[in-house]
Structure formats: structure tokens, C-alpha cells
Point group: C2
Amino acid sequence: MNIDMIRAAAQRLEGHARVTPLLNSPFIDEIAGRRVWVKPECLQRTGSFKFRGGWSALSALDPDIRASGVIAFSSGNHAQGVAHAATLHGVPPVIVMPSDAPALKIANTKALGAEVVLYDRGSEDRDRIGSQLAEERGLTLIRPFDEPQVIAGQGTTGLEIAAQAAAQGVTKADVLVCCGGGGLTSGIALALEADAPDMRVRPVEPEGFDDVTRSLRSGGIERNNRVSGNICDAIITPQPGDITFPIMQRLCGPGLVVSEEDALHAMAQAFLRLKVVAEPGGAVALAAALCRQDQIEGDDVIVTISGGNVDPDIFARSLATLK
Amino acid sequence: MNIDMIRAAAQRLEGHARVTPLLNSPFIDEIAGRRVWVKPECLQRTGSFKFRGGWSALSALDPDIRASGVIAFSSGNHAQGVAHAATLHGVPPVIVMPSDAPALKIANTKALGAEVVLYDRGSEDRDRIGSQLAEERGLTLIRPFDEPQVIAGQGTTGLEIAAQAAAQGVTKADVLVCCGGGGLTSGIALALEADAPDMRVRPVEPEGFDDVTRSLRSGGIERNNRVSGNICDAIITPQPGDITFPIMQRLCGPGLVVSEEDALHAMAQAFLRLKVVAEPGGAVALAAALCRQDQIEGDDVIVTISGGNVDPDIFARSLATLK
């Protein structure tokens, strides 16, 4: 896993994934007490950064192997990213999803051409289900984060951040990344190590699901006690990955943790000031910039919005915080 | 008013205005029955394309004249675009707004650094107030659309559309533009005449406020009977401009007209499928692509989203259409 893989992924993604812009707002700067630069991956194809990793992984497969089909397990965004990348490659995707995933994400994944297999998050092991289906049908498993070509794809976000921030004169900043298993976080960290070495990546997680933050603190992989029951579902995983954690341990600063209310507040600011739709899990990094100012260093902070696949009812809850 | 002015404006805007991406979604394509490419100027600074015209006009002024300050009349997007462009130039903006404008818009315009002068719609003449202030203080008036350097700035949107569409292999399409006084519409039309001559610009307006559509049909300037009472307030003006209309007459195809309900429906699809926030007036072009398929030609259609400055209550109404 290295920067050359990320640069190669960027070449494969060119013309297929979107180069998302870097947004800012004087109103958000004022709340945050520093300049805030926002990388809205909610504007990526399928509404999250996951399309990058999906396309990277699909396009890196041997064509004969790829033609047999792929499988992924995901709460939603990886599902859509892989499903769309696969069908655009002419490959049939099978997606294993938790039965409590947002209805919108399940419906979208089906509509993007995937065969969806549901499982119970509390009682069943998605890794085992995925591996078994892959073996039975000769499918290639595209892991959501602990997969080098997926990390390489997510890392292309970091190449863009480095270039777009430099164009604004910003070369030194904390870079807050919405963090589940660490694919986006470790990918961006590797990209910035090469292209913006004065930047420091910091994972941001929801309260009660701060496995990466605790793992970085203890120096060993820590697990979450539970993996459901939070509106930030998109970025909740049992524990950091075996590939992603050592990268994060080497390159990342301390994690940050925000509440569900903080995430809803950040979604509302993204609506009001940036005109983008963030899902709760996708808003935690912006939430940290807005609500954890004293834990952040420097005049500039860069935040990812990792996705925008949110049900209208939850979005309406965020709008209600503006009253 | 010519393409060279638009190209010169593009140079002045570089690094200051955002290059907004070109978005699409297979779900929106399916509703529309053709490929739909969306230029989301809601992601522009200050939340609408008006920043382009504001920056273009400010940056084109003689520095000595500019230093004395600028003035604009607006209760909406032009106010914010000019105010932000002016303060970024170190120039004090005066914005004349009706005292019954929404408190949030007044607050935002002030927060962007403007001196806001309120007038009473019922008893005071804003033109007299503006002229008097301009004369007393030596301020330059920045008109909202009938102003060559403003049109040149809005036209830079068209240069980007031509390049971004060509990168997707699209050189022939109807280009639907949310239309008020015609600054954006005529600017894009001039840009595409030069850079994408097989594209055809078509203005889109709200039902009951279709002055441009009727003017194009009759061949002379037609007025609206009223200028308020529609949620698409951002794109309602009394009549097309003296500069913009001849350009539209020469270059544009027939206008399209949509209802308030169509606009709310399009806002909901922009939320759901593109993850961007559109205001009602900013959603009329997308609404036409979704609801007026039989009046549009070709396999591809390009639509602008002109702005995203919408109150949460109205946005919630659009979300409710998804139920």
C-alpha cells in the first residue's frame, strides 16, 4: 500500500469519478473560529466517496476475473459505489447489506443493478456471509476498506485536497476525515504524506463508536461495543482494519468524537452555507470543526463530507435545528 | 457585449469564483427519459451564479472609481454576490433592500460586509434613494442583469458548460437556464455560440411570470402582470432587459414554463440524487427537464441550478413531495 497505487488509481478514475470542488463560507469560518475548507464527497457519483474505491478496485481486476462478477458487503455507501462501478464495467454485482440500513440506500443499490442480500447486523457476521457467497458463485469480494485498491481509490480524494488547498495557498492544516473502517482516512493520509506533508489527518467518529480514536490512543486495535443505534450509520464499523490501522497509527493525529446532535447541526450548516446535502455520518468532520474548535490546531482546517445519502426524515431533523 | 468580454471575465474570475462541477444521476436520467447534465451554481460562492457577475463587474471597474464604493438594489442573490465580491476587493458595498425583506437575508448581506440601507416599499422610492446615495458618495451602481460586465461574468458559466460537456462527449443539447432578467441566459448563450455552437439555450420560467418566454414568442418585450407571489422569487423580474433581450432573441430557442409544484419536485430530486440544495427559482430548469420531456429535443439536456438560497421551511416542503 503506497502512494504509487494512489496515483495509478487516480489515472484509472480520470473521466469516471468526479473531481469534487473545495468549498468554503465566511459564515462557517466565523462559527469555527478559523478558515474551514470542505471537500464534499457527497457530490461524488452515487453520493459518497465510495465510488472512488469501487471504481479503483473494479478497474484494477484482471478482466477475466472481473467478468465473473463481484460481491460487497456494506451498510449502504460502499454498496452503491461498488454496484455502480460494477454495472458501468458491465459486471453483475451482489451486495450484502444489513437489514436495518436506510431504506433509501437499499432501494438505490437495487436500482443501480445489484442483487441485494440482507443480513441481521446484530446476530450475523457479514464477513462470513460475504466470503461464503463469493466462494459459491466465483465472485470477487470487494472489501469496504481493508483492501489496497479500495484504499488507493479513496486516497485520490487526498491528492485532490492537496492540489486544491495549495491553489488557495493552504499547505498546513488539520484534515478531519469522517472515519469508519479507515479506508478514506488512511488513503487520504498516504496521499497527503506525499503531496502535502505539513497537513495532518485526524479521524472523526460518532460518540460511542470511537474505535479508531481509542485504537490510536491505546496503540492497539480496539472494538466498538455495538455497531448500530446511531444516525451516523454510514461510518460505523466493528473495528479499524488490519491494513488501515497501521497506516493511521503512523500518519494520523488524535481522533475527534462528536455527538448525533453535533452531526445534525453540521448537516444544517452544510445546507445553509454550502448548499450540499450531508448524511449524519458524512457530517461528523464538519461537526468537529464547528463544535471542537479547541481540539484543533492552526488557522485552517480541511474537512471531508464523506456522503450525502440521507433519508428525508432525518434531513428534516437537521433543518429543525435551525429554528 | 461579445465573447471576448466573457473570456476576459473568465480570466478575472479564475481563482476567485468556483468552477462548479457537472453532475448527473442515472435516477434523474430515468425520470427525464434522456441524459441530464446539471450545472449546480448553487455551489458558487454566496450560493448563486450572481457572484460571477458581481466579481466580473467589480474587477472590471477602474480602481479609482471602484475605491469609492459600489451600490446595488436587491433583496436576494445579487445583493449577496455583489456584497461579497466588493468586500473581497476591499470596497465598501451599499445594498438597498426593502425593509420587509426576510430578516435572514438582511442579516446575511450585512454579515458579508455590506452597509444595508432599508426602504419602505409602500412609501419610499428606492431609485431615488439609490441615486441620491450614489451621487452623495460617488458610488457606482451595479445593475443585476442589464449590465455588460455582469452578463460577461454570468457567461463564464457557459464556457465551463461547453468544456465540461465536451469532456463527457456531449456537444449537442438543449441547455435549459433558469431565467429572470436574462443575465445568465444571455451570457451562457453567447458563450455557447462560440464554444458549443450545436447547443441551444432555452430560458425556463415560473408559470405566470413568463415574460421572457412571451417576449421571445411575440418578438417584442412583454411584461409580467405582477412581480411577487411565487416561491420562485429569485428569478422574477418585471421584464427582460434592453441588453439581454436582443441576445436571447438572436440565440435562444423557445422558453419553457413550469409550476411551483414542478419546482418543488425538482428540488427534491436535486436533494435525493445530486446532493445539492436548490432554491425554487434555481430548480425550474431541472423541473423542465423532468416534467416537460416532450418539449425538449435530443438525447442529452443540460440544466443550470442557478441558486440554493432557500429557507428551511420551503426546503422542507420540497422534501415532503418525496412521501
